[in-house]
C-alpha cells in the first residue's frame, strides 16, 4: 500500500487522536489541524494527497475551509472527506455542495476509512493521468500549428497571388484556406489574356495543402512560358496523379481568358455549377462540370477538352468551390445552389453580385463558426487584359528561344524496335515559346505522322484492320510480331523552323522506307476504311496550314504557322 499524506482537520482532540492512529496504522503520513484556518494554511504549505475535514469547527467551519482548499488545489484533484456525526446527515447535501467528495461518520470504522482512502487515491491518480495526457495533447497541437505555419510560409512563396490583384478580379480566400484544400491562382499570359485556376483538394490540414504546391508551381511556370491551359492542366493532372494517393484528388475550374477574341474557355472537373453573367446584368449562363477531378485519370485517359464561349468586355464569370454551397447556418441547413442562383438573379446590377453573394452567405451562417471554406472569385473580361507590348517582350521571352533552325534524325530498324522519338521531337519543338500554346495539338500531329510512317510504312500494317474489335486486337498482335522481327527499314524526321519574334513557321517532314500509298486518290474518295483515312489525315489537316505527300507517298511534309488562327 502506498503512503499518502493525509491532513486531518478536527477541533476535538479525542477524535483527532483516534483518526490519526487509524490512518497511520495503514502506513500513511498524517498532518493535523485543529481548526478551519489552520487547515487551509497547512494545506497550502504541505499539499497533502487527501483531507479528512470535520464539519463543525469554531471559526472557519469545515465547509468554508473546504471551499478555500479546493480553490487552492485548482486543477489537481485533492479529495476532501467530511467527518460527521450521523445526526448531521440532514446537511450532507450542503456539505457536498461546498466541494467535498464524501463523508465518514463517527464512530470511525477503520475498514471503511481505508477503503475510502484507497478508492480516492485511485481516482486522483486517474485524474493526474488525464491532466498529463491533456497537456501532452496541447503540446503536440501547438507543435502541429507551428509546423502548419512553416508549411504555409513555404506555400506562400510558391503559390503567390500571381495576378489575383488585377483590377478585373475580385476574390475571397481565407489566409488558411489552403489547409482546407482551397487554392486560387491567376497569371497573365505572355501574349495577352489570363489563366485562372480554382482548386479544391480533398481532405483537410497538411494533406490537403501538399498538392497545392506542385500545382501552383506548374501553373505559374508553364503559363509564363506560354503554354496553353490544356497543356497546363494535363501536366498538373499527371503530377497530382503521381503524388497523391488513390482516393485523393483536386476538384478544379480553370479559365482561359482571350480578350483578343472576346472569348473564354473553361475546364471544370468536380466543381459545382458556376455562372457567367452577361454585361447587361440579365442573362445568366450556367457552366457545368464535365470532367473528373484532377489527379484521378491516368495521362492517356485524361480529357483536356475545354468549352469555349464568347465573352465580351463587362461579362463576368463567377467561380466557387463547394464551400459556399455547403456553408451551414446554426440549424445545420446548407446555403445551397438554389439560394446562390437567386442572389445572382436578384441583384440590382451585375457589379453588385459579388458583394451580394458575400453578404448573403455571411447573413446565412451568422453565428455558426466555419469561415475558411467560402472561396469565391469574380473574373471580368476587360480590354486591359490584352497584350501589354512593353512587358511582353521582357516577361516570358517570346522573342527568346531558337528562331531559325533545322534538325534531322534518321532512325534505323535497330533503333525503331525500342525507341519512340515522338517525346523527344515534342521537347525540341517546345523550346520555341511560340509553339507552346499549341503544344497539345502539335503532339497529336507528330504522333500521328510518326505512327503512319512507322506502322503503315516500315511495318507494312494496314489500318483497315483496326475497324472491328477483333481486328483491333489482331492489328496490335501483328504490330508486336513485326517489331520483334524487324531487321531493315528507317524513318527520317526533319524539322525546320523560321521565325520573326511573334510568329513563325515550322515544317515537319517524315520519310519512311515503306511502299507508300496512292495519295492522289484522296481527293476523289471519302474515308471509308482504306489505308488513307486510317492515316488520320483530317485531323492533321485541321491543325496544319498545308500537308503535302511526295514520291510514292512514303514522304510527307506539313507546315504549321504560329500563332494559329484559333488558339488552344
Amino acid at each position: 500500500m502506498t503512503a499518502y499524506k493525509v491532513l486531518i482537520a478536527d477541533d476535538n482532540s479525542v477524535d483527532r487522536k483516534v483518526l490519526s492512529r487509524v490512518v497511520r496504522n495503514q502506513g500513511n503520513e498524517v498532518i493535523e489541524a485543529t481548526n478551519g484556518f489552520e487547515a487551509v494554511d497547512i494545506f497550502t504549505e504541505h499539499r497533502p494527497d487527501i483531507v479528512l475535514m470535520d464539519v463543525m469547527m469554531p471559526g472557519l467551519n469545515g465547509k468554508e475551509a473546504t471551499r478555500q482548499i479546493k480553490s487552492i488545489a485548482n486543477e489537481d484533484f485533492i479529495p476532501v472527506i467530511f467527518l460527521t456525526s450521523l445526526s448531521d446527515a440532514q446537511s450532507l447535501a450542503d456539505c457536498l455542495e461546498s466541494g467535498g467528495d464524501d463523508f465518514l461518520t463517527k464512530p470511525y470504522n477503520h475498514v471503511v476509512l481505508q477503503a475510502k482512502i484507497d478508492s480516492y487515491h485511485r481516482m486522483s491518480e486517474m485524474h493526474r493521468t488525464l491532466l498529463n495526457q491533456r497537456d501532452e495533447i496541447a503540446r503536440v497541437n501547438r507543435h502541429m500549428l507551428q509546423e502548419q505555419r512553416v508549411a504555409k510560409a513555404v506555400y506562400d512563396n510558391v503559390a503567390h497571388a500571381g495576378c489575383l490583384t488585377s483590377p478585373n478580379i475580385r476574390y475571397e480566400l481565407s489566409p488558411l484556406a489552403v489547409f482546407n484544400g482551397d487554392v486560387l491562382l491567376a497569371a497573365r499570359k505572355p501574349g495577352g489574356g489570363m489563366h485562372v485556376l480554382l482548386g479544391d483538394f480533398t481532405g483537410h490540414g497538411l494533406p490537403a495543402a501538399i498538392g497545392a504546391m506542385p500545382m501552383a508551381d506548374i501553373f505559374y511556370g508553364m503559363t509564363a512560358k506560354g503554354f496553353g491551359l490544356r497543356e497546363v492542366l494535363r501536366e498538373i493532372n499527371q503530377k497530382l496523379k503521381s503524388i497523391l494517393p488513390v482516393g485523393f484528388f483536386c476538384c478544379a475550374a480553370a479559365v482561359d481568358l482571350a480578350p483578343d477574341r472576346q472569348a473564354a474557355s473553361v475546364w471544370m472537373g468536380g466543381v459545382p455549377d458556376c455562372y457567367l453573367l452577361r454585361n447587361d446584368g440579365e442573362r445568366i449562363e450556367t457552366l457545368s462540370s464535365r470532367h473528373l477531378p484532377l489527379g484521378v485519370m491516368s495521362a492517356d485517359k485524361f480529357n483536356d477538352q475545354m468549352t469555349e464561349f464568347p465573352m465580351a468586355n463587362g461579362d463576368r464569370l463567377f467561380l466557387w468551390s463547394d464551400g459556399i454551397i455547403e456553408a451551414r447556418n446554426s440549424e445545420g441547413e446548407m446555403f445551397g445552389q438554389e439560394r446562390l442562383i437567386n442572389v445572382v438573379r436578384d441583384s440590382a446590377h451585375a457589379s453588385d453580385v459579388y458583394d451580394d453573394i458575400q453578404r448573403a452567405v455571411d447573413e446565412f451562417v451568422d453565428g455558426s463558426e466555419q469561415d475558411d471554406d467560402t472561396t469565391l472569385i469574380e473574373v471580368v473580361m476587360d480590354d486591359a487584359l490584352r497584350e501589354d507590348k512593353e512587358s511582353a517582350v521582357t516577361k516570358a521571352g517570346i522573342s527568346q528561344g531558337p528562331r531559325d533552325w533545322s534538325m534531322e534524325y534518321r532512325l534505323e530498324a535497330s533503333t525503331l524496335k525500342s525507341f519512340n522519338p515522338v517525346p523527344l521531337m515534342n521537347h525540341i519543338m517546345m523550346e520555341v515559346p511560340g509553339l507552346r500554346a499549341i503544344g497539345g495539338q502539335l503532339y497529336t500531329v507528330v504522333a500521328e505522322l510518326f505512327s503512319n510512317a512507322f506502322e503503315h510504312g516500315v511495318l507494312g500494317l494496314h489500318s483497315s484492320m483496326k475497324q472491328s474489335p477483333d481486328g483491333f486486337m489482331e492489328y496490335y498482335r501483328q504490330r508486336e510480331k513485326r517489331v520483334a522481327e524487324l531487321e531493315e527499314g528507317f524513318v527520317r524526321i526533319n524539322m525546320h523552323h523560321t521565325g520573326v519574334g511573334d510568329s513563325g513557321t515550322l515544317t515537319l517532314t517524315l520519310e519512311d522506307s515503306g511502299d507508300g500509298f496512292d495519295y492522289k486518290r484522296h481527293d476523289r474518295e471519302e474515308g471509308s476504311g482504306n489505308n488513307y483515312s486510317g492515316r488520320g489525315i483530317p485531323l492533321i489537316e485541321s491543325i496544319c496550314d498545308s500537308i503535302e505527300y511526295r514520291g510514292k507517298g512514303n514522304e510527307v511534309s506539313v507546315v504549321i504557322h504560329w500563332p494559329l488562327e484559333q488558339a488552344t
Binding site: 484528388f249 472537373g269 468536380g270
Partner: protein, 100 residues
Amino acid sequence: MSVRASLAGNGQELVIQVDGRFDFSAHQEFRDAYESAAQVRKYIVDLGGATYLDSSALGMLLLLRDHAGGDHSEISITNCNDDVRKILAISNFEQLFTIQ
C-alpha cells in the same frame, strides 16, 4: 452510418450497402468490407439508404475501384437518391462507374 457487405450472384458479386451519411467516418468499415471479402468479378455499392456523400466518400469509391482492378473493374453504384446522384454527376463519376 453503417456498412454491410454480402455476396450475391452465386458468390460472384459483392454487394456493399452504405446507410446514413457516407463520409470519412465510414472509411475503415468500407475498406474492411471489400478487403476482407474474396476477390469477386463485380461490385455493387448500394446507396439506397445513404443520405449524403462527401468528397472522402468519392475517394473511397476510387480506392475500391483501384482494389477491383482499376480500368478493368466492374462497379455499379445503385439506388442513388437525387442528392447523391447530383454529387456523382458533378464529379462525372459515371465515366468511371456504372450508375443506376
